[in-house]
């Protein structure tokens, strides 16, 4: 049996409220505001209070999905990546790099976000990158 509490920052908006996550046997079971965090002083909004729910939600995607004829269908990673790469190339050639925009996320790691902006700026060649924390 292992119960631990982890001090972290809320993954939602740019406010950056300090919170304490409760982890029981490797599974997220609760979230509490950090009483000692100067940002939120022990308070959270409804999204912060329910942060542990989305992590273990049964609604989360477990397979890559591709839209075929307007409907999302399960597919393999290879198929999904191939499609993304092909279509992005086509759009870039036809409409220019600036016709593509990308959204990073506070729910991703810093490393993942860095990778995305590098891909956006260096590979695609556009500056159209933004992040949900700016909202």
């Amino acid at each position: 049996m292992e119960f631990k509490t982890v001090l972290t920052t809320c993954p939602y908006c740019g406010c950056g409220c300090g919170m304490v996550l409760e982890v029981l046997d490797g599974k997220l079971v609760g979230a509490l505001p950090s009483k000692t965090s100067p940002v939120n002083e022990g308070k959270l909004c409804v999204k912060g209070w329910t942060v542990h729910e989305f992590v273990t939600s049964p609604k989360r995607l477990t397979k890559a999905m591709v839209r075929k004829d307007g409907t999302l269908e399960e597919s393999s990673w290879d198929e999904a990546l191939d499609m993304a790469a092909t279509r992005l190339k086509e759009i870039k050639e036809k409409h220019g790099a600036d016709s593509i925009g990308m959204f990073a996320s506070a729910k991703c790691t810093n490393e993942e976000n860095y990778l995305l902006q590098k891909f956006c700026r260096a590979a695609i060649g556009t500056n159209n990158i933004d992040h949900c924390a700016r909202l």
Binding site: K4, L7, E22, L24, K35, G42, K43, C45, V46
Partner: protein
């Protein structure tokens, strides 16, 4: 302060009487809940005082319910102040915790905190450490009682207008454990508006605090709108005590009057 608690918990752990002690730890200037299973960890123990007494308290009973639900055959010790002990008594009656699997470790609150909380009894009976403080007089409720009807309506409407329906009061409450909450019932409280139905939302919550609220004050501390929830729930407790003769968390057998059919 805290040395007596450390020693007591060390004893419980070394004698194998508990699987762990649910208390608080201090780390890099932050205070958060912690389950102490190794006596060596106790050097990082905090009593919930960061800059002032009791300013970093958490709903430990609530966390205990979550852990005990998965490990019902293990015994845990838990840090309790006067209010938490009242909470435990009620939670045992509501069958959310098994009293044979919980060892309360009592901490008394200093005068400064007792006065800020206007606490009726700022120490638990199972006191291990801390003072046996005196009851503090309530002025917050008296202030509202002193207003006329119109003044009270204006006051409460203005306060409730700052509600952002974060449900913080409910999420943090160590006594809220219902699987289906009335506040999420659309026929009672409409959805899609901020502030939520004024004053319905808060009156519904207040009614549900009968026989439940232990006056720990965590709700008011968690409210981003600084709504004086504690004053409202203190009045609820006063009404229940005066009219129905029940005080939450003071008895081991007697149950909340709203759970008993009959009687008046």
């Amino acid at each position: 302060m805290g040395q007596k608690i450390r020693e007591y918990v060390q004893g419980l752990l070394s004698e194998g009487k508990i699987k762990g002690f649910l208390g608080l730890r201090q780390e890099h200037g932050h205070v958060m809940p912690h389950l102490f299973c190794d006596p060596g960890d106790l050097e990082h123990m905090s009593l919930g005082d960061k800059d002032g007494p009791g300013d970093a308290r958490y709903p430990l009973n609530q966390i205990l319910i979550r852990v005990a639900a998965v490990y019902p055959h293990d015994t845990f010790a838990v840090l309790v102040r006067g209010c938490d002990e009242r909470g435990l008594r009620e939670l045992f009656k509501w069958q959310q915790l098994n009293e044979e699997r919980v060892i309360p470790v009592g901490l008394g609150c200093p005068d400064e905190l007792a006065k800020a909380c206007e606490c009726e009894k700022p120490f638990p009976d199972c006191l291990v450490d801390g003072p046996q403080g005196e009851r503090a007089d309530s002025q917050k409720v008296a202030r509202i009682d002193g207003m006329d009807l119109e003044g009270r309506l204006a006051f409460w409407t203005a306060e409730f207008d700052r509600c952002i329906k974060c449900f913080g009061c409910r999420y943090v409450c160590p006594m809220c454990f219902c699987n289906e909450c009335s506040l999420e019932e659309e026929t009672l409280v409409g959805t899609g508006e901020i502030p939520p139905d004024n004053p319905t939302f808060h009156l519904v919550r207040a009614v549900h605090m009968v026989g439940r609220c232990i006056d720990c004050g965590l709700c008011e501390e968690a409210c981003p709108g600084d709504i004086p929830l504690r004053t409202l729930y203190k009045k609820v407790a006063d009404i229940v005590s005066e009219e129905l003769g029940y005080r939450t968390g003071y008895t081991v057998e007697e149950k909340s009057p709203f759970t008993i059919i009959g009687g008046s």
